[in-house]
């Protein structure tokens, strides 16, 4: 831990980020600690190597700007194509999730209707409900029945298969949108 503290300070010293007092403290430690001194010497050699290398800026081959201009000229139509593909995938995704949502909600409604209105008669049941609205126990029973219905639906393996498929498809859709909108074209021909 003590060594770590001082080796961190060596890095700061190489960047001229230490105060004179801290430099003195570090220098005293380095004269006493062989392990830290070895690290310091290796770090300093690496620092020298990097400083010497940093004096050289590598240049691109001549004609960089014209090559970029050509690439830029090709970019616009490509970008528009990406936009169209993105719109198509977006529309397909939205339509799919709308249909899926409608199908799931209709399944739920059909299941609830089949339990609540076994004869398919809505209004007498509603009238009975209003009549017994003052009866708290009726509401509790209805609540229990509703919970049971939900449990029946949620315990169906098919329901969970549908949910998992929907999640997988949602992930796939999001990834496709990312690929379409985030990846920029890499034109190999222009590199030659």
């Amino acid at each position: 831990m003590e060594h770590e503290k001082f080796t961190e300070k060596i890095s700061l010293w190489l960047d001229n980020e230490l105060s004179p007092a801290e430099i003195t403290e570090l220098q005293i430690h380095l004269t006493r600690c062989a392990a830290c001194r070895q690290i310091y010497q290796a770090m300093q050699r690496v620092d020298d190597l990097l400083r010497r290398a940093a004096a050289v800026m590598v240049e691109p081959t001549p004609g960089f700007s014209p090559r970029f201009e050509a690439r830029l000229a090709q970019y616009t139509p490509y970008d528009q194509r990406r936009l169209w593909w993105g719109m198509i995938v977006l529309l397909l995704g939205v339509t799919f999730f709308f249909v899926l949502g409608a199908a799931l909600s209709s399944t739920l409604l059909v299941s609830l209707r089949s339990i609540f209105f076994s004869g398919g008669i809505l209004y007498p049941w509603l009238a009975a409900l209003i009549e017994s609205a003052n009866n708290l126990w009726t509401f509790i029973n209805l609540g229990i029945l509703f919970a049971k219905t939900c449990l029946i639906i949620f315990s169906q393996p098919l329901f969970w298969v549908c949910v998992l498929v929907a999640i997988a498809l949602a992930g796939l859709w999001v990834r496709m949108m990312q690929l379409i909108y985030r990846r920029s074209p890499i034109n190999v021909e222009l590199l030659v």
Partner: protein, 200 residues
């Protein structure tokens, strides 16, 4: 024993306020759709951007592609540039992030034998002058050291040494905190020192 560190700055063309004002003017014009103004930016920055990409990717072909991609991304994202900030820092940020992503993707790429560059002997049959040999060894060592670093550490190291950026500037360029940059530079130096000791 004398313990000291090299503090002299490496020779780097200083960016004058006039140059900065010119860059800002080009950036503002390019933001309004002036492609010629953007081409001035490309002319002015092709060298430092290419150098950054080359030091990050260690391959001239990939560096060319990455530098071109950087300018393309800068052009398409110009509206997100805040003129109150230094244009060069914003441009280096685009380049650094692109190269970091590319290095991360490299780890998961499979290369077929056909795609590998043609075999080249490590030593040429003709003897090299001593200076050239030493320079080549130093160059090889430098790339081995940089290659041993994770992409984030490598970017921080390159921005520190080749572009003489302060901790604040590196943090702003790499979208992170100053303490994270201190830590990255320390870890990078530690890793490179260990590799240097092991190799020499």
């Amino acid at each position: 024993m004398i313990l000291s560190v090299a503090t002299e700055p490496t020779s780097r063309p200083a960016v004058t306020p006039a140059m900065q004002a010119q860059e800002q003017a080009w950036a503002r014009a390019a933001q309004k759709g002036d492609q010629a103004a953007f081409m001035h930016i490309v002319e002015a920055y092709q060298r430092p951007v290419y150098n950054l990409c080359y030091r990050m990717l260690d391959d001239p072909t990939e560096a060319e592609d990455a530098a071109q991609e950087t300018f393309l991304r800068a052009y398409t994202k110009l509206k997100t540039y805040n003129p109150r900030l230094k244009f060069s820092s914003w441009l280096f940020s685009v380049a650094s992030h692109y190269c970091i992503d590319r290095l991360r993707q490299r780890r998961y790429q499979f290369i077929s034998w056909d795609e590998l560059p043609p075999w080249r002997p490590l030593s040429t049959p003709e003897p090299e002058p001593e200076d050239a040999t030493l320079a080549r060894e130093a160059h090889d060592m430098l790339h081995q050291l940089l290659d041993s670093l994770p992409p984030d550490y490598r970017a921080a190291t390159i921005l520190r040494y080749w572009y003489e950026m302060s901790y604040d500037e590196i943090a702003a360029t790499l979208d992170t905190s100053v303490s994270a940059i201190k830590s990255r530079l320390f870890r990078a130096r530690q890793m490179m020192a260990e590799k240097y000791k092991a190799d020499s």
